[in-house]
Amino acid sequence: MDSKRKAGNPSTTLPPSKRVQGNLQSSAFPSQPTDEEEDYDEDVFMEELLLRDEELRDSGIEGLSARLSRWRRPQPQFDFKLQNIVFQQLDIDYIIGESNKQLTPQRSGPVAILRMFGVTTEGHSVCCNVHGFQPYFYISCPDGMGPDDIPKFKHILEAKMRESNRNSKSPIFITNVELMHKRSLMYYQQQKSRLFLKITVALPTMVAACRGILERGILIEGLGQKSFLTYESNVLFALRFMIDCDIVGGNWIEIIAGSYFDTGRKLTYCQLEIDVLYDKLISHSPSGQYSKMAPFRILSFDIECAGRKGHFPEPEHDPVIQIANLLTIQGEDKPKVRNVLTLKSCSPIVGVDVMSFDTEREVLLAWRDLVRELDPDIIIGYNICKFDLPYLIERAEALKIVEFPILGRIRNSCVRVKDTSFSSRQYGTRESKEILIEGRVQFDLLQAMQRDYKLSSYSLNSVSAHFLGEQKEDVHHSIIADLQNGNAETRRRLAVYCLKDAYLPQRLLDKLMFIYNYIEMARVTGVPISFLLARGQSIKVLSQILRKSKQKNLLVPNVKGQGSGQDTFEGATVLEAKAGFHEKPIATLDFASLYPSIMMAYNLCYCTLVRAEDISKLNIPPEHISRTPSGESFVKPVLEKGILPEILEELLAARKRAKADLKEATDPLEKAVLDGRQLALKISANSVYGFTGATVGQLPCLEISSSVTSYGRQMIEHTKKLVEERYNIKNGYEFDAEVVYGDTDSVMVQFGVSGVEQAMKLGREAAEHISATFTKPIKLEFEKVYFPYLLISKKRYAGLLWTKPEVHDKMDTKGIETVRRDNCLLVKNVVTECLHKILIDRDIPGAVQFVKSTISDLLMNRMDLSLLVITKGLTKTGDDYAVKAAHVELAERMRKRDAATAPSVGDRVPYVIIKAAKGAKAYEKSEDPIYVLENNIPIDPQYYLENQLSKPLLRIFEPILKNASKELLHGSHTRAVSISTPSNSGIMKFAKKQLSCIGCKTPISGEDQTLCKHCKGREAELYYRTVSNVRDLETLFNRLWTQCQRCQGSLHQDVLCTSRDCPIFYRRKKAQKDLSEAEVQLERWDF
């Protein structure tokens, strides 16, 4: 990682952002092309998706419709003639259909019809068909081409298009070409406008086709062969529409009575369905009364499949046996509907509608009906996009239920299935299907988690343990089939489990305020909500640039990322860290929003950048040009105000407003909205810098990003200089101030004073003094004091954070994070405990002692095994891995032992490292923790000491302790070693067991003796020892097993949970086993 950081690749030099809850988009900008899919439109003809009526059969399930009717939306009382329609739109897409004869009489043949789906304040669903909006893009008008040449040009282009799209049903391709006065966004130009051609095409996909033709070049009479640079030709159609109509994601739309038509034919399942011309829409900006959320319906669901033993469920073979559903109305804290559909009978569950069916077909069709009647606006779940939804669709296909996939809002219209290949470093490449459900937004909590939070495990269990503070019962999929094949009681058990899995995503959604944060993000950046999870990051910035350009009559050129991704520039600066344990308060001076401030202060933008060759040509007075430390030139705002600075100013001003409103807001829902907004604004502001530096992005401009970082470096150095020049004994201060460390946007200063309050005072003063020397709005702020402060190296430190002089706020660490996936829990525990002892208790000897006793416990085999478990996901079978990996090898070995319980692809494999023959490869030393427990297999303490513990520990202790390595890792505490004897190894079959004295391990002859004659006198003491071991284990046994009972929510049923993510799973097992062994020891006294 380190080497990459220095290279100044924007994907790793993050725009400065403080750690905030809900760190949306913390992964910044993708540097690999594989991560960023190219956005393109796809024209779908409406009739392709529709099923013929004869294919449609009613599910014909009795009793279902009565239930469903209770859960429907309220019936609208609506007068289409008199009432305005006001709704919050949540999803916008388009479909190709016949042009509407009333609204667009001038067009015939297929046209793109935009559809906005939304909800009114009363909770009625709306589908608004928008007509008349046509796809277009620009090219620069070649010199010498005048208005008279346009018809000819249009004709040539039309012919070319026809030639390359012979199969198209469209009667016309180019609907219009007109001359416009516009200006390109790129580079500073003195000329205020030039001529451009706006080319309007019939269907959205034709934009790309036409762009291709123009880029390759066409022969124009009189001008010769010409190729063109296109402008705004890579804008998705729906986004184009939103930009032109000033609609942002999730805002409110109003349509005045009389300007719309009530669609006579009911094409959708929406309650209100209207047709309107695009210029009749009134888009309300999300403020005041229009900042609220409509009461939209959120469906959380989870499915259970009965897999065959040893296989992950496959839709071709394995039935869907249960589907649990939870419908919540936005803004209400209790779910409105809770039900579960089961295959075969299932005992009732209090408070839940249990609906049982005899065939799988009925289950699936009942769910289809349920979705249609509940009519959710948002569908959520955990891993639904990659598992649950595709599984249902493919299962229905396997069962030949053609009428199943009508889950969207369009009558008789099947969901669209797109094959996608999803690849990333963590997950490997997975072929999967993307399911597009018309009119319903899918929000997969797993994707949101992976995007917004860095966690060691993303299983639902560990995520809910992390955020909700509770463990989830986990039923292994090999047991699921057994439960299903049992009776109504066991299926009920499964249903309870399934319901919990449907409930947790909803709780996570509420707890982490995803709805508010994502809708606010959509509103701020102006993209549809569905883009936020499904598409790359840059579209959010692009959307803002396009909107701003439109206001300023600028055009965004379609410049493909020319860079190969290897162009780099110098990144942020990091001042040399004065490593050590600083026991005097360290004041931290932070630049507030450094990179956005720099861009604003120096007017850095595409349209202010002066190319080197232009400087002399344009003859700009030097006082109107600022030269950046990296050698680029930008004009000052007097000549041209950049749009990026303007966007940033608006974002930051809006954030200030949101924060001010937040302070005054009293309603918790309003607060949630405002907090989500200020967060979204902050993140958006920070991501602008990254956008300019993403070399394979939409509109890279390294001149801007390298200038930003160069200014940043300059400022850090400047601050350091000023602090050290001013705060010293020469100037009458008590001590010489010393900058101990500085990174990207902050500088840590040790003023030398010993009181936190004094340090705060000096810090505040220094911030003010230094801020005055910078161009506005760059501002240095004093926020916090670290005291004490353990600085390990660059980007690695820990300290107690103080924002008020009375009491510290918390312990803050950076770079010592122990959430790395391949670390075991022990590392985290030891590191946390050590830091706690060092920083809070100020007890370094205590910390050393703690490390020593932990290491001693490890070597003496007294360690709780669950602390040593390492977990990795199995993404493909062993043969597909190029390199042998420990967890893959183990999975293979486990399959040989028992195929039924062995982990299969998609599972997480927990393992421990065991002692093996000398020279054994690391991957051969992995073993299943359960197997280890059951067979007394010795773990390899050296591995844990050297590969897991030593590095993080030395990092912490080296600044504090002389000879840390020697002291901690090789002291006398490492000499006593105890290794358990495996009970299954070959040689043990031949060994004869002989009893030994409990006191001194001397072999003793008599069967009925406990102690040798020398130890007889110590009888009482040795008995204590045996009995106290039993006591401890009994206590543990009791606490562990009763906790699991509480967790599963039943006293009268056995605990089944096999959640290996649960911290007490192995302890529970181990306590059980240890206890029976300890009992045997105790029994030896009963002679």
Partner: protein
Amino acid sequence: MVELAETRLPRKQAAYTPKDEEFDLRSQKYKGQQYSHLYYCRLHKLREVLTSVAQQSYPKARVRTILGLEEGEDCIVIGTLYKQMQLKPSILDEYAKERSVIPLVSPRNFVHANDYLILEDESGRIRLVGDTVFPTAYVTGVVIAVYGYEGSDGEFVVKQMLEPGLAPQGQFPSQSSSGEDKYVALVSGLRTCASEANPLQFQLLVDYLTGHLGDEKEQSAAAKVVHVVIAGDSVHLQYNLLTGQSVQSKDQQKLVEPIKELDLALTQLAAAVPTDIMPGSNDPANFSLPQQPLHACLFPGASVYSTFFAATNPHCFELDGVRILGTSGQNIDDLDKYSVADSKVEFMERTLRWRHIAPTAPDTLGCYPYTDRDPFILNACPHIYFCGNQKKYETKLLQDERGRTVRLISVPRFCDTGVAVLVNLKNLDCHSLSLSTDMLKSNGI
């Protein structure tokens, strides 16, 4: 040292029958059992009792399972209570994300105003609501019957909660031998070698019981003590010395000293009067209930005598046909943590009415995972029911409408109070015996 033969006053005798078999674990092994069976056995056993209790009170109401409930219908449900408590400590707290700001010192009582009761049977769970439901008085694990109906939101509205009531009681022996006064002495919390324990005080007690104190009148009173029960926490052990590393020789002494001192005193006692010793929460015995007898190797002196008996905890025995049951206090202490009552005796009374002496086991009180029975169910009601290691001496004569009579005694810690308790087997009268090093007195109650 003690020569009983020469005493002019012969000590009275009583027929002693230990009834500890229920609590003997020797045939039990940890083989991967879980606690669900214990709850199952408990519910199964007490269901019969509760069914008849409920049917007497509400002959017309049907007994239903939780799953069989029909909305609005008045009926009876029998099940195990689960008390949802937000303050209840959990082992998962150890894994809390960040070290909590609140110190991990556990409060004495975990009751909170938001606690509520859930009734569970084999088929399901339902939350109990209604004016007659008092979560503070109940704990997890109690088996009860509730009369009421299922409300519209899936909760059970309780009209009355029905408890099993006192178990059938054996006939109190008619005093055949001319109604002699015979006493059983109860003492607990000796904690030898603890900092607060006074060795002289304990010696005084031993001297009193063995008849080496006072004048003839006192001695004749002492001669009426037919049995001594030491109810737990007899030694103060420094478990922290047992760290897994080998024990230093000076620490070995520290470890063994308390038990040696106890053995010395017990030897004197056992020579004079039959003595039972029960293990307590801090004694060198196992932790889970039922605690097994303290090992003979700890008492090389006393164990020689046939009058010395190492009992289980709980301990049940009969003296001249009077049934006596007692614990070293863990069951009552645990109730005190998870529920509220005015006195310890009230907790004891509740356990008798619930017909279960340790309902919180296994939820918060450690116990062995039985699979075939629940030894803590009261099949027969004792005549004397005591509980050791309490703060102060309390007693009550409990009588129910059917004439069952139980003497309830909360036995205080001797090391703190210097109080032992004497109960008269003839009429269940009870008084405390206070010993202090400066005065010797006896208070009748």
